[in-house]
C-alpha cells in the first residue's frame, strides 16, 4: 500500500505561443492546484495537454481544465487535450466536458 501522496509530473514544451504539457499521474484535489500553478499562460495562443500517461481524471481535474479554458478564452487562445484514453474520455463525456477533447 502506497503511503505517500501521489504527485503529478508535468513536462512542458514551449514552441512560440504554443505550450504542450505532458502529464503523468492523476488529477485530484491535491494535484490539480499544482497543475494550475505550474503552467504559465502568458502570451500563449495554444495550450495542449498530452494525457497519454494520465491514469485518472477526477472532478477536481475537470475543474482545472475548465479554469484553463476560461483563462485561454480571455486571451483568445485555445485548450486542447490529446492522447486521451477511452476511460478518461468517458469521464469527460459523462460530465459534458467533451468539447475540451481533441477531435478524433
Amino acid at each position: 500500500m502506497e503511503k505517500e501522496t501521489k504527485k503529478i509530473e508535468i513536462k512542458q514544451e514551449k514552441n512560440g505561443n504554443k505550450l504542450v504539457c505532458k502529464l503523468k499521474g492523476w488529477l485530484d484535489p491535491n494535484t490539480s492546484p499544482e497543475l494550475l500553478a505550474a503552467v504559465d499562460l502568458k502570451g500563449l495562443k495554444e495550450l495542449v495537454f498530452d494525457m497519454k500517461d494520465v491514469e485518472y481524471v477526477f472532478s477536481a481535474g475537470l475543474r482545472a481544465f475548465l479554469q484553463f479554458q476560461k483563462m485561454m478564452d480571455a486571451q483568445n487562445g485555445t485548450v486542447k487535450l490529446i492522447n486521451v484514453s477511452d476511460s478518461i474520455r468517458s469521464i469527460f463525456e459523462y460530465t459534458g466536458f467533451e468539447s475540451l477533447l481533441e477531435s478524433k
Partner: protein, 782 residues
C-alpha cells in the same frame, strides 16, 4: 318510552275500573230489586185499594138499595090500598093517599113529593102540591084535578113501558133543581081490568149526592153513580151530572175502556178497570165498580192512578237519594281500597322501572295493605337484594379484570417499548426477532446493538416473575446489560458488572437468565455467554445443532461471579438461533412441552430470511399448542451471518489519505481479478466519495475517520464508505445540468454525479450515527 306513556294515559287505573265494575253490578241488582219491589208494591197497593174501594162502594150500594126498597114498600102499600077501592070511591082514595103521604112525610127529607095519578076519564092527580099538617099531625092534601099534570115530568114518556114497579131515569127537579128519581107503580081499582093510574114517589137524591161528594172530597176516590142507561147521577162536573151518560163521555174523551167498564157494571158485574184518562181525576185512573142490582144502576169509585201509587213513588223517591249516596260511598270505599292497593302497585312499578335503569337506591315498602302486593313487594325486595349482590360481585369482577387488564397492558407496553424491531442494515448479516407476549407478561426480552463498528451484540433474556414487576425489572436489566457490554473491555467483565448490579438492587429476589453473543462482523468470530439460559442452536452449514455452552449461574442471585465465555466462528450463511423457554416449554392440551427436539426438527428446514424462519417456528409452536393458552412469553432471534470477502481500511478523513484509499481499493480489486475498466470506474467513483467525505463530513477540529469495507460476491464488487460525520445523503443532491456549455457550468455536485454515472449501484443509509454509502460495480465490460 313515549309510546308506553301514551299507552298508559289511555288506560284507566285498576282502581277506577274495579270501582265502576262493582258499582254497575250493585246498580243492576238494586234496579232489579227495585223494579220487582215496586211491581209487588203496586200490586199490593192496587189490590188494597180495590178492597177499600169495594168496601166503600158496597156501603153505598146497600144504602141506595135500602132506600129503593123502602120507597118501593111505600109505593106498593099505597097501590094495595088503592086496588081495594071501587071506582070513584074518592073518599077511600083520599084516605089511602093520606095514609101513604103520612108515611112519606115521616121521611120528608128523603121524598120530595108523592102523587097518585088517575088516568082519564077521571084524570085526577092527588098529591103533595097543597098539603097542610094539623095539630094532630094529620096531613091533609087535596085532590088536584090538573089535566095531564104528570105529563110535565120527564118520566111521562116512559109511562107506556110501566107495568109494575118502575124507576124513572133520574132527573133534575124543576123547582128545587135537586137530582131526583121517581118510583112509579101502576094500580087497578077493584074490578078494573086495566091500569087506572100511577102511584109516584119522587126520591130526593141530593142527600145521597152530598154524601158521595163529601166522600169524594175526603177520600181519594171519587164516587160516581150511574143510572141503568149510564147517565151520571152524581159527577163533580155539573155539565156532566144528569146530562151525559158514561157512554157519551167515553166517546167524547175517547176512552173505550170506560164504555166497557160502564157496560160491565150495568150488566151487574163488580170489578176494576184501568182508565187511560178520567175526566174526574183529569188523568190516568183506576175505577172500581159495583152494580146496584135492584135499580140496575152502577156505582163507580174512581181513583187517580197517581193518587194510589203516590206512596210507592214517594217510597221510590225516598229510596233513590239514599241509594245514590250509598252508591257514592260504595264507590269511594271500593275506589279507596283498590287505589291503596294499586297505588302500591304503581309505586312498585316505578321502583321496578328505576331498577331497569340501574337505580337500586329505593327498596319496596313491605307494609302493603293487600296481601298480594305485600308478597310482590317482598319478592321484589328479594330480587333487588340478589341483583345488588350480583351487580356488586360483577362490578368487583370487572374492576379486578380491568385492573389486571390494565396491569397487563402496562406490562406489555413496557415490554414492547423496550424492544426494537429496527434491525441494522448490514451487509455482513441478516437477523430477525420475534416476541409473542403471554397474556400475563413474562418478562422476556431480546436486544441487539453494535458495541463498536465491527462488534454486534445479540441477546435473548428472561426475567423471573410476571406482570409489571417483571416488565420493570426487565427494563432495568436491559439497560444495565447494554451499558455494561458497551463500556466493558470484555464480555465476561461486562457480565460480572451486570450480575453485581442486578444483585445489589434486587430486593424482590428476581433474576435474569440470558444468552448473549458478540459477533465480529468482519471476521465472523463470535464470543458468547450463557447465564443460565436455554441452549441456543448453531447452524454451521450442516443444519442446526444445539450448542451446549458452559451454563453460568443466572444473573442477580449471587455476588462476584466470574462468567465463562466461549467462542465460535461463523462462516458465510452460518446461523444462530436464540430463544427463551417459552418456546421449548410451550404446552399442548396434555401439558406436554414443545421441547428441544421438536424445535431442532422444525429448524432443519431452510428459509430465505430469518424472518421466514421465525414465522415458521411460531406457526409450528401454535399448531402444537392448539387451543391451550400461552403461559409464557415466546421470544426468538435468528442471526444469519453473511460474512464479508473484502477487506477493511480505516483512515483519517483527510485528503492526503486519498492515494492510500485508492491504492487499497486498487490492490483489493486486483486480488479479486476485477477488470481494468471496472476498476477504473470504481476508482473514479471512490475518489469522489472519499474527497467528499474528507472535505465535508467532519468539522475542521474533529479527527474523523472513514471506514472502507469491501466485498466481492456474485460478480459484484462493493465498497462501503462509513463515516461518523454529519448526516449527509449524497443521493439526495440534484444532478447538475450537463447539457449546458461547460464554460458556464456550476462546479458543485459534479463529483456525486460522476459517482452515479460510473457505479452500477449506489446505496446510502444512515445507521447508528453513521453515514454508509455503498458503491457497487459489476465486474463486466460496459
Amino acid at each position: 318510552m313515549m309510546n308506553n306513556l301514551k299507552l298508559l294515559s289511555n288506560k284507566q287505573s285498576l282502581a277506577f275500573k274495579l270501582s265502576i265494575g262493582i258499582l254497575i253490578c250493585v246498580l243492576v241488582v238494586f234496579l232489579g230489586l227495585g223494579v220487582f219491589l215496586s211491581k209487588s208494591a203496586r200490586h199490593i197497593v192496587s189490590s188494597n185499594a180495590e178492597e177499600m174501594g169495594k168496601k166503600s162502594v158496597q156501603a153505598y150500594v146497600s144504602d141506595i138499595t135500602h132506600l129503593a126498597l123502602d120507597t118501593e114498600q111505600l109505593v106498593l102499600n099505597t097501590k094495595n090500598m088503592l086496588s081495594q077501592l071501587e071506582d070513584n070511591d074518592v073518599e077511600s082514595m083520599e084516605l089511602a093517599l093520606n095514609s101513604a103521604v103520612k108515611t112519606i112525610y115521616r121521611s120528608a127529607l128523603t121524598y120530595t113529593e108523592a102523587w097518585v095519578y088517575v088516568f082519564p076519564p077521571e084524570d085526577v092527580s092527588y098529591g103533595t102540591l097543597y098539603r097542610s099538617v094539623d095539630l094532630n099531625g094529620n096531613v091533609s092534601f087535596k085532590a088536584q084535578k090538573i089535566e095531564n099534570f104528570y105529563k110535565i115530568f120527564p118520566w111521562f114518556k116512559e109511562v107506556p113501558k110501566i107495568e109494575e114497579i118502575y124507576w124513572s131515569e133520574p132527573y133534575e127537579d124543576m123547582l128545587t133543581k135537586k137530582p131526583v128519581v121517581t118510583c112509579l107503580v101502576p094500580f087497578l081499582f077493584q074490578n078494573s081490568s086495566d091500569f087506572d093510574g100511577l102511584v109516584a114517589l119522587t126520591v130526593d137524591l141530593s142527600k145521597m149526592k152530598e154524601s158521595m161528594d163529601s166522600f169524594s172530597s175526603s177520600e181519594k176516590g171519587k164516587l160516581l153513580l150511574i143510572s141503568k142507561n149510564g147517565l151520571y147521577i152524581t159527577h163533580p162536573d155539573p155539565e156532566i151530572a144528569l146530562k151525559m151518560t158514561i157512554f157519551d163521555l167515553a166517546k167524547r174523551n175517547k176512552v173505550p175502556e170506560l164504555t166497557q167498564s160502564g157496560q160491565e157494571v150495568l150488566s151487574g158485574k163488580t170489578g176494576m178497570t184501568r182508565l187511560s184518562y178520567s175526566s174526574v181525576v183529569k188523568g190516568p185512573a183506576v175505577a172500581f165498580y159495583a152494580p146496584i142490582k135492584h135499580l140496575s144502576w152502577g156505582l163507580r169509585l174512581v181513583y187517580s192512578e197517581n193518587e194510589i201509587f203516590n206512596p210507592i213513588r214517594r217510597v221510590q223517591y225516598m229510596t233513590i237519594l239514599p241509594l245514590i249516596i250509598g252508591m257514592l260511598v260504595l264507590f269511594l270505599i271500593v275506589y279507596h281500597i283498590c287505589h291503596e292497593s294499586t297505588k302500591q302497585l304503581l309505586s312498585l312499578s316505578k321502583i321496578a322501572a328505576n331498577y331497569g335503569k340501574g337505580d337500586f337506591s329505593k327498596s319496596f315498602e313491605e307494609k302493603a295493605s293487600a296481601r298480594e302486593v305485600f308478597v310482590l313487594s317482598k319478592a321484589m325486595n328479594d330480587m333487588r337484594e340478589n341483583l345488588l349482590n350480583y351487580i356488586q360481585k360483577e362490578k368487583e369482577a370487572v374492576i379486578e379484570k380491568q385492573k389486571n387488564e390494565s396491569e397487563l397492558n402496562i406490562a406489555r407496553s413496557i415490554q414492547s417499548s423496550a424492544l426494537s424491531t429496527s434491525y441494522p442494515k448490514h451487509h455482513a448479516f441478516k437477523m430477525s426477532t420475534k416476541m409473542v407476549s403471554a397474556k400475563r407478561v413474562g418478562g422476556d426480552f431480546y436486544d441487539f446493538f453494535f458495541i463498536d463498528r465491527n462488534h454486534f451484540a445479540i441477546m435473548v433474556a428472561d426475567v423471573s416473575g410476571k406482570g409489571i414487576p417483571a416488565a420493570l425489572y426487565m427494563m432495568k436489566a436491559q439497560a444495565l446489560i447494554k451499558n455494561a457490554v458497551k463500556s466493558s473491555k470484555t464480555l465476561s467483565e461486562a457480565f460480572y458488572t451486570i450480575n453485581n448490579d442486578l444483585y445489589e438492587s434486587n430486593d424482590s429476589c428476581m433474576f435474569v437468565s440470558a444468552f448473549m453473543a458478540v459477533v465480529d462482523v468482519l471476521s465472523g468470530e463470535v464470543e458468547y455467554i450463557n447465564a443460565g439460559h436455554t441452549h441456543p442452536l448453531f447452524d454451521d452449514g450442516n443444519g442446526y445443532e444445539f450448542i451446549r455452552p458452559e451454563k453460568n449461574v443466572v444473573l442477580g442471585v449471587k455476588k462476584n461471579v466470574r462468567f465463562i465465555t466461549q467462542k465460535l466462528t461463523m462462516k458465510r450463511n452460518d446461523r444462530l438461533f436464540l430463544y427463551t423457554d417459552g418456546v421449548t416449554e410451550a404446552e399442548n392440551k396434555n401439558s406436554d412441552f414443545y421441547g428441544e427436539e421438536r424445535l431442532k426438527k422444525v429448524l432443519s428446514q431452510k428459509f430465505v430470511s430469518p424472518e421466514k424462519t421465525l414465522d415458521h417456528v411460531l406457526k409450528n409452536i401454535r399448531k402444537y399448542a392448539g387451543d391451550t393458552a400461552q403461559s409464557d412469553d415466546i421470544t426468538m432471534l435468528e442471526f444469519c451471518y453473511q460474512g464479508t470477502n473484502g477487506r477493511q481500511l480505516t483512515v483519517d478523513a483527510k485528503l492526503d489519505k486519498l492515494s492510500e484509499v485508492l491504492s487499497f481499493l486498487r490492490d483489493d480489486m486486483c486480488e479479486n481479478n476485477i477488470l481494468p475498466s471496472v476498476q477504473f470506474r470504481m476508482i473514479e467513483a471512490a475518489e469522489e466519495v472519499f474527497v467528499n467525505i474528507a472535505q465535508y463530513a467532519y468539522a475542521d477540529f474533529e479527527n474523523g475517520k472513514v471506514d472502507i469495507l469491501t466485498d466481492f460476491r456474485e460478480n459484484t464488487y462493493m465498497a462501503a464508505f462509513i463515516d461518523g460525520g454529519r448526516k449527509y445523503n449524497p443521493l439526495a443532491i440534484k444532478d447538475p445540468k450537463v447539457k449546458a456549455d461547460f464554460r458556464d457550468r456550476q462546479i458543485g455536485g459534479l463529483g456525486i454525479f460522476l459517482v452515479k454515472k460510473l457505479a452500477d449501484l449506489v446505496e446510502y443509509e444512515y445507521d447508528n450515527n453513521h453515514n454508509i454509502l455503498k458503491i457497487s460495480v459489476i465486474n463486466k465490460e460496459k
